[in-house]
């Protein structure tokens, strides 16, 4: 079983702004389509290792980014992942 964390954004603008800011750091992250298990909203989410989530969140908020929600997904094979919304 593996787990990774996701940040969703109110609009695409903030998703791409997050990507643009994080590219300048050494942090590991990936822009991915919002997993259907999280939301039916079409769009892009940021996927990162859960241990980096707090640091990434702090950096984005320092730059006045609007963030929507935070999730941890635990995935095992092709089974539906276990989704936990995180209160940060």
């Amino acid at each position: 079983m593996s787990s990774s964390c996701y940040i969703t954004f109110p609009t695409t603008f903030f998703a791409i702004r997050a990507e643009s800011l994080l590219k300048k750091t050494g942090l590991t992250f990936k822009m991915v389509p919002v997993p259907r298990s999280i939301s039916s909203s079409c769009g892009t989410a940021l996927q990162c290792p859960c241990e980096d989530l707090a640091e990434i969140k702090a950096l984005l908020e320092e730059n006045s980014l609007e963030l929507e929600s935070f999730y941890r997904l635990e995935e095992e094979g092709i089974k539906k992942p276990l989704v936990t919304e995180l209160e940060l």
Binding site: F13, R17, M31, C42, G43
Partner: protein
């Protein structure tokens, strides 16, 4: 290139030629990154999203906007002005505008006034195009909400004293909307330094981009009602359009192909240096003015050669129909100009050329001194024939 084709003196209508990269970028965008920006989340969509972000960031840097999220894309300056005017004004508001405004300002205001929603006052300008600041001071009312200023006249090239106008308006808590149709890409603009509340620009003139591109800068803290609502790809479960900028004021699929071209236009301007472009155009305008003055029977309008102006000169030749002069310039010499009223009737009233209008010459960043010489030779022949 055909020599005659280079004699294009109509850059104030739309700039030509464009940098090569501007022609190539829209095709590349459609071939290689044709995802719908903001929608699907797959790689082509992400590429389109990144392009739009880069374009916002680059435009924000050009006008010194603090945040790329405050740059909203629009079809052109007219569209941006409509978004600003109709998104801000409420019933009962009073609006000030200068006599140099274009129909892109006059007509949205005219509609709202005709519908009984707002009242307006026009600030007269001197023949040089400079607004009457004393008149402005006496024109404020308790319900004055907005002052609209054409940064530079598309008829005379005169540049409005933004610092003084904005200081005056802000002293009365009046919001300022600047129409930068003729100045974006042609002269440096610092929206933070000048405290500009809203700035409307087009992509296809000084910014050297394709038609169908432009935008509006809206300062932080100023929340406009969206003129259009619809798909944004975000918050799709809600029936209410997102309030977050820039999507707040954008709806439907954006012109990513055109904006790819606009980005290249701005990149070109940044690489060449906007100060250099401004200086070269200013010198060419002065040269043009000095050569025109020598012609018999000619009347010139706006700031004299050597005075600060954007790259526009208007003239008439005593008694001659300006449309006819424009026609002869094109048919006999391959020189392209624009004649008539230039969608700015009050500006022509101000300089005394209503209803006939003028012949307008607008060199651009690729116009050469030798092109001006060709133009002058042609005008010498035309005016010689007329006076002979």
């Amino acid at each position: 290139m055909n020599e005659a084709l280079n004699l294009y003196f109509d850059n104030a209508a739309t700039s030509w030629p464009k940098p090569e990269a501007v022609y190539d970028a829209p095709g590349r965008q459609m071939r290689q990154a044709a995802g719908n920006p903001g929608r699907s989340g797959h790689t082509r969509t992400l590429e389109a999203d990144r392009l739009l972000y880069k374009a916002r960031e680059t435009l924000a840097a050009l006008i010194n906007a603090p945040d790329p999220g405050r740059i909203v894309f629009a079809l052109n300056a007219t569209d941006a002005l409509n978004i600003a005017i109709k998104g801000l004004l409420e019933t009962g508001d009073h609006v000030l505008f200068t006599a140099m405004e274009h129909n892109s300002v006059l007509r949205p205001l005219g509609r709202l006034r005709q519908d009984g929603l707002i009242s307006t006052t026009m600030i007269p300008c001197a023949k040089t195009g400079q607004p009457d600041l004393d008149y402005l001071e006496s024109a404020y009312r308790e319900n004055t909400r907005l002052l609209i200023v054409n940064h530079a006249s598309n008829v005379t090239g005169s540049i409005a004293p933004l610092d003084r106008l904005i200081a005056s308006a802000h002293g009365r808590k009046v919001i300022v909307l600047v129409d930068a149709a003729q100045t974006a890409g042609a002269i440096p603009i610092d929206v933070q330094g000048l405290n500009i509340d809203m700035l409307a620009f087009t992509g296809h003139k000084g910014l050297l981009g394709p038609t169908g591109t432009g935008g509006l800068y809206v300062r932080k803290g100023l929340d406009l009602k969206p003129l259009r609502e619809g798909g944004t790809g975000s918050q799709s479960e809600s029936d209410i359009h997102p309030l977050s900028m820039p999507e707040r004021l954008e709806a439907g699929t954006l012109n990513s192909a055109g904006l790819a071209g606009l980005l290249e236009g701005v990149n070109y301007i940044q690489a060449r240096g906007i100060e250099s472009i401004q200086q070269e155009e200013q010198e060419l305008r002065s040269y043009l003015w000095e050569r025109l003055v020598e012609l018999p029977g000619i009347s010139l309008y706006g700031p004299h050669g050597g005075e600060a102006a954007v790259s526009v000169v208007s003239f008439t030749v005593g008694g001659a129909d300006c449309g006819e002069i424009g026609h002869v310039l094109e048919s006999a010499y391959g020189i392209l100009t624009r004649t008539g009223l230039h969608c700015a009737p009050h500006a022509h009233q101000t300089i005394g050329t209503l209803p006939e209008g003028t012949v307008r010459l607008s060199p651009g960043p690729f116009t050469r001194k030798v092109d001006v010489d060709h133009l002058i030779n042609a005008l010498q022949e035309i005016t010689g024939l007329m006076s002979g």
